[in-house]
Assembly symmetry: C2
Homo-oligomer: 704 residues x 2
Amino acid sequence: MKLTRGGDQPVDAEANKALRRSMKQMVNKRDPLVIFMPSGKRGSFPVGTKILDCARKLGVDLDSVCGGRGICSKCQITPSYGKFSKHGVTVAQDSLSEWNSVEQRYKDKRGLKTGRRLGCQASLITDAVIDVPAESQVHKQVVRKRVEVRDITLNPSTKLYYVEVQEPDMHEPTGDLERLIHALKRDWKLPDLIADLNLLKTIQKTLRKDEWKVTCAVHLGNESFSPRILKIWPGLYEGSIYGLAIDLGSTTIAAHLCDLQTGEVVGSSGIMNPQIRFGEDLMSRVSYSMMNENGAEEMTAIVRQGLNSLFKEIAHEANISSDVIVDAVFVCNPVMHHLLLGIDPYELGQAPFALASSSSKYFKASELELSLNPSAQIYILPCIAGHVGADSAAVALSEEPHKSDELMLVVDVGTNAEILLGNKERVLACSSPTGPAFEGAQISSGQRAAPGAIERVTINPQTKEPKFKVIGSDLWSDDPKFKESIKSSGVTGICGSGIIEMVAEMRLSGILDSSGLIGSSEQTGSDRCFLDGRTNSYLVWDESTSNGSKITVTNKDIREIQMAKAALYSGARLLMDKFNVDNVEKIVLAGAFGAHISPKHAMILGMIPDCKLDKISSAGNAAGTGARIALLDTKSRKIIEEVVKNINKIETALEPKFQEHFVNASNIPNSSEPFPILKSLFELPTVNFNQKQTGDTVGRRRRR
Amino acid sequence: MKLTRGGDQPVDAEANKALRRSMKQMVNKRDPLVIFMPSGKRGSFPVGTKILDCARKLGVDLDSVCGGRGICSKCQITPSYGKFSKHGVTVAQDSLSEWNSVEQRYKDKRGLKTGRRLGCQASLITDAVIDVPAESQVHKQVVRKRVEVRDITLNPSTKLYYVEVQEPDMHEPTGDLERLIHALKRDWKLPDLIADLNLLKTIQKTLRKDEWKVTCAVHLGNESFSPRILKIWPGLYEGSIYGLAIDLGSTTIAAHLCDLQTGEVVGSSGIMNPQIRFGEDLMSRVSYSMMNENGAEEMTAIVRQGLNSLFKEIAHEANISSDVIVDAVFVCNPVMHHLLLGIDPYELGQAPFALASSSSKYFKASELELSLNPSAQIYILPCIAGHVGADSAAVALSEEPHKSDELMLVVDVGTNAEILLGNKERVLACSSPTGPAFEGAQISSGQRAAPGAIERVTINPQTKEPKFKVIGSDLWSDDPKFKESIKSSGVTGICGSGIIEMVAEMRLSGILDSSGLIGSSEQTGSDRCFLDGRTNSYLVWDESTSNGSKITVTNKDIREIQMAKAALYSGARLLMDKFNVDNVEKIVLAGAFGAHISPKHAMILGMIPDCKLDKISSAGNAAGTGARIALLDTKSRKIIEEVVKNINKIETALEPKFQEHFVNASNIPNSSEPFPILKSLFELPTVNFNQKQTGDTVGRRRRR
């Protein structure tokens, strides 16, 4: 008899043997031992104890929604057999009770993997070793894509519980809710729960729909939200419950829908922040609220509308009702933080940039007028300071500089660069006004990352001829099939990561000197360089004769990039001063745009300080990842709240050295500058295109 | 120098003496002793310790809003002088530091009673005895009007705290809220507070209005509401904060506005429940919700509108903004409970009358769409059972049968009578369907209590002539000036308490026999009795010839009262069976209408069981009083929640004896019935007007 294969042929001899063995154990007065893997937790229990009960008593992480009624299948286990010398036990094939009809029914109806049993049906006969597969663990590990980071431990705010509730009668006059709470307490050892109004309105009908059997989504509570029942379904609810991780940026809003039972991302979507109509950058939005009576309210209303349309779309795509979205985490910069909450960002527009509130926040979805389950509790990560927001906190949660042995620089590149530098000892943070050049704005041929945008560039140092790739095609521009491959979009412009590569390649190929001047055709020996007003420009692509685009890099574009990279570098440099170092051991480039930056080109450009090239990586949307961690692992919320308290904010505006660093950083590195690692890796041309320049000196930019 | 009288003439000799004495104590190494009265708390403190600080360290109940800055005057104290042999101290006139300029300024500006000092200014020099006047105590006693009941101890949910907040700067990037919370923690030892969205929206402006000085209304929290700041004012807020005690009845809604700092009722108002348009009694409203798709929602909306207009009126009359109403307590029957919360009362209309929820509830005012401070936390008392609501719980809180040595019957008379019977050992409860007769409905000349309604009656046993008083006049109807005194209203009908006296007086005067028949003019010898259809009626008042009213009592009216009183009596009787008694030791008649019932007439009518007449009292609106206790003394909330759990609900519909008691109770007492106390007090006529009767037998009424 193979218990693990469905076991539909009971063999009496085998059963008798098992019985004899268990009787022998009883005579020996030793209860059988059960060892759970991978935890290694072990204990002895009387013959006949359900494996699920053993697991609960030992604190083994074995899931169950139905509480052992054999209907939810969450408690699947895999018994192991053989000799386990490490544990000192030998496990017989019949260490567990026989495969039973409940398991067979479940297998017939839903399927059950070979070797699996239901922990609530199989009971202990003799010594057993039980493997708890990952999907049966409540606190399972959610795998992150990047190899260098830890996985997320699932600790959701809200879980599902199935209960059978006592019917009311006239001798027992407690309310329906109280009997439901009692059942949850009795079966699941849950604390005294409460319920919001919206639940109270539906509880009576739902309880009566399937004979007083219901599944409850229970929020387990935290410091500002008492444990409560968020939603109930008649009978066993076989769907799941979901949470949203939302990165609310000034320009884009991205949301990931996560299954709170598995931790998986089941849907992602993004929209442009509809507040853009009130100003592209944050300061314009703060100004809008200063200049208009109800400006802040208007912007709050419109961003909430935008969020709701995004939520609707994402729920529709995942084919779920928005009512089963029971949790959400927001990360955002301080201005978006205030505008989401309906707080006038007035004070964030002037020194000392005081936040109305910096700590993390919990609100009900209904309070923020968000179309999720109305009792869904929204968590907003803490802000670090007036210019370093919950998005930076999320980056810290994702990248964990506070746990790093190496001195680690984390740069979240956007309209403002949020910069973290630190290690186990301490972490510093600052914000630097890079401006929108890295996002393709204020660049003559700049554009957002979209099909047709140049994103990869190399320039031949001899011929000065460029080749590039555009978003939407895998081919380089010198490929004969390139034009065919981009027929639908054409070449439309240069996106943020493309412009960085472009400028760095121009520098490497000697088209650009260290001061940021483009050489003339005579100086560079290339016709692609041409006089364009008082300075030179570099021609990248020209299809203008056939009604296509003409893409050039002007010296003004170079100046914009120089200013942006100088702002970023000088912010990092300021923090490095506090650590008294000239280079860092590790760099993580974060931000939606950071995902695409080529570390090599960023380094050639002098955007980032000296660091070994293989120690520079892109984290992608680390803020979004931080939001997802906070969503799935509620224990991480307290952790980041503590971490944020210990991050030391450096205000660039108060540091005289910042301006000095900024001026020094405006040049593109040359061999006389302090970048030993960079210089050891690349040969930096020593060209100098000095000529009379007017009106394009690099100056201090206002904060955006 | 009289320190206690303003002390504007410092006398050096006295001061020197005090100094010498204190120096002597210092040499003796004995710190001066301070004894606070009335608590008797005592302790020694170094010379110069502020009396407020001594009080705080000893846990003496001495109020302060400004935290010792000499601006709020809440910490007023009265030093005592002389020999206190009981305490073993002699207190010199200069036991405290000299009257100072802060006290003088306060006295000049606002006045200070003779003998009073400010506890935050006066400091300890030598042994002192300090009297804390009632108004300086936080937990002061609020005096209840009735002598037989305990006063209310003030323990409000929300208190005022003045703080000076650290200004933000760029080196200290915490939010404004966090610095405010820090100040409250530092100065007032308050826990970690949170703030709702509406506070976050105003905090930045308010903090900057008066140089970072603010007064905060802080809700101290409870099991489902974390401690939080509800409202802030710039500088020292000299107004008060308020709470509402609301008795939400089927017919009327009454609200009392209470000052949470003094416990005083500063305004009261009432309106008709606007749901009356959906049905006079509760069952009609339940039916309305069953018959109409959005019936329950409609009724919820309209009662909330009604409440909001009542709140507006009451705030307007008290000349306060509704935003300073930061707490509210509701008591109501189960159907009103559900309709207030927006829960369909469907299940309350059919056995087993299951409540959606029976336990006490907390909601924010904004959740219930009530126009108070949006963060005001609404408390709703627990329901005892499907027919015994939060109003009965409030009656229990006010009348405390669970603390009584004597067996105590509490009857809350309304459309349903809520009945409590018990003592220290146990308390039973039931609800009995009395119908609306006691409220003047279904009585031919019945009306609500309003000017012109007959409320007091006596009938001369010899002449059978009635005399009465109407609401709005102090004169009896046989007074020559009576007609003049009621000119504006006339005599318009008989109110609930009037009809009880009327029927009891008719019985006492021999117009009515024990079976409830009115005698004919021949049988009674009075022309006021006349044949009216198949039965007789009694003429009370006839001004019809001069265009006035004609008021009669018909035999059908008597039947209505008999049924109502039988329902009430049999409910009480059912509970008495459980205690195995035939009479009770104490009766309290509660309910808005209960306040006016004459205990004597109620007893003659057989409404209530046998009890010594001087042990029967009227409690007035005991449910409203219970609401006020729960509002002012938050500690009473936990107490009543526990008491309610231990009240044993008896369901009349399940008790076969109820019907039997009801039939037996329909007669009006005669000398053969078991009312020994009643019969010892009054001579019950033995008349018998038996005649062929049709169509007016007393039957079982449906529950209303």
